[in-house]
Subunit: 300 residues, 2 copies
Amino acid sequence: MSPEKLSTYLTARRREIEAEMSRCLVAGEGRPPALVRAMRYAVLGGGKRLRPVLALAAAEAVAGSGARRRALRAGCAIEMIHAYSLAHDDLPAMDDDDMRRGRPSLHAKYGEATAILAGDALLTDAFAIVATPSRRTAPGATLAMVKEIAVAAGSSGMVGGQLADLSSSGKARVGLAAVREIHRQKTGALLRASVRVGALAAGAEAKTLRRLTAYGQAFGLVFQITDDVLDEVGDLKRLGKPGGGDRAAGKATYPAVLGLEGARSEARRVARAGYRAIAPLGTRAAPLEALLGHVVDRAS
Amino acid sequence: MSPEKLSTYLTARRREIEAEMSRCLVAGEGRPPALVRAMRYAVLGGGKRLRPVLALAAAEAVAGSGARRRALRAGCAIEMIHAYSLAHDDLPAMDDDDMRRGRPSLHAKYGEATAILAGDALLTDAFAIVATPSRRTAPGATLAMVKEIAVAAGSSGMVGGQLADLSSSGKARVGLAAVREIHRQKTGALLRASVRVGALAAGAEAKTLRRLTAYGQAFGLVFQITDDVLDEVGDLKRLGKPGGGDRAAGKATYPAVLGLEGARSEARRVARAGYRAIAPLGTRAAPLEALLGHVVDRAS
């Protein structure tokens, strides 16, 4: 898939995703308007929508265009969880960031209490969205999607990684194994879950699910390595904030352990494993392949 | 059921609940030990365990002693959500409480960042626990339990109520309708969900579920009215903190709107509706009846 075709693909998917996320975050049903406003600010302020795109692309890789609606909703729920994690990460007691994507972060805009509660609400409502039954998906598959997301986002996944990352800050030496484990949890787990949830929504059989899981695993790792490289190189335009912050904060990063070139070559190595895993799925998996290539390229 | 029999009943149930909650919060599977320690501190520091007791008692009211295990696990998950909400409520940006149940609150003990993350992890892991499939419960019923809990805890339930409560602080006049709506969301929704989840775990038919829902609704309301009364009267021993704090903070309370005697009589009136709703279930519902009576009595 050419960069132009990928770009067209992404534009179309993102349009669907924005519309669905806006539908997921509406007033009414007793929701205080001030809470909904903060939730929408946290979620609808841009972003690449990588997680719901992965869910959709994985569902399409399994079944053509079937079961897309279910994958779309689950992907949007994951994006809400991603948004809550950024909002809580930015809090003064955590990373203390007043800016996010080139505008005030959630607590800078609405105050700390509202930012904490809006994050809590995004996380909780995400599960209400995934757990809504649908005629086209068996309850057992939907339940598996809930569990997949909860495990990826919880104490042995994303939140666990965040705490380990905080604890590692300022430590003199962090080895590659520790860096990899922290990032596997902090970022990789939810990206991998995005792919798996799309596959589950589409009713993937065990073998296909295994292939897509291997792809999701590789994707998460490549994403984190290249994110670290971008942070090191510093790319105000792409990240919306000055570079080098993580390294300056003494956090565990790939370039800190492997060097800049070593990190880039590690990203390419892991990506190749991802391509191999989905090769047998043929052209239906072309968007997944192109997405992974796109992530590798951003650091080169 | 006599107070002595209720006391014996509660002791036995709480023993099961403590054991199950301890099993739900274990190290391993990549969980950072510091995170697990904070999560255990937040959950295992005492408390009446009202929510899991309600889930168990509701399941027993439906089916004798069947399906108890499922109700127990779901009840413990709700208790984890309750514990997370207290931990986030106590944060400096929220109620700023350094004490909880007669000992340091979570952030006073482990710091703010850990308290935020441990709360996030408790909320997320609760859904992983509820969404775990079991042979004895249909996936559809388990999915309904997930949805029930997510809706009760999210933006139109508990978190919504917390934000509305914060917004109402210091407002000159809050009417009874507003007080009732805030409390229905903030405390009532999760108590009602505890009862409903127990009923769903036991496979209650529609009519029984409606009866138990009405009971759960009444229970939540009576709980909040009597909580307000206790806060007003001030009962250091029972609440573990000095009384009158909510009224002093200008929060919407029942005694502030109805007066002390008016609030007590309102609690008795609502409780009678709760008794009536479960009367047709007979002796199997005796623990539920006694629990509600116990909550009414604590304010008299």
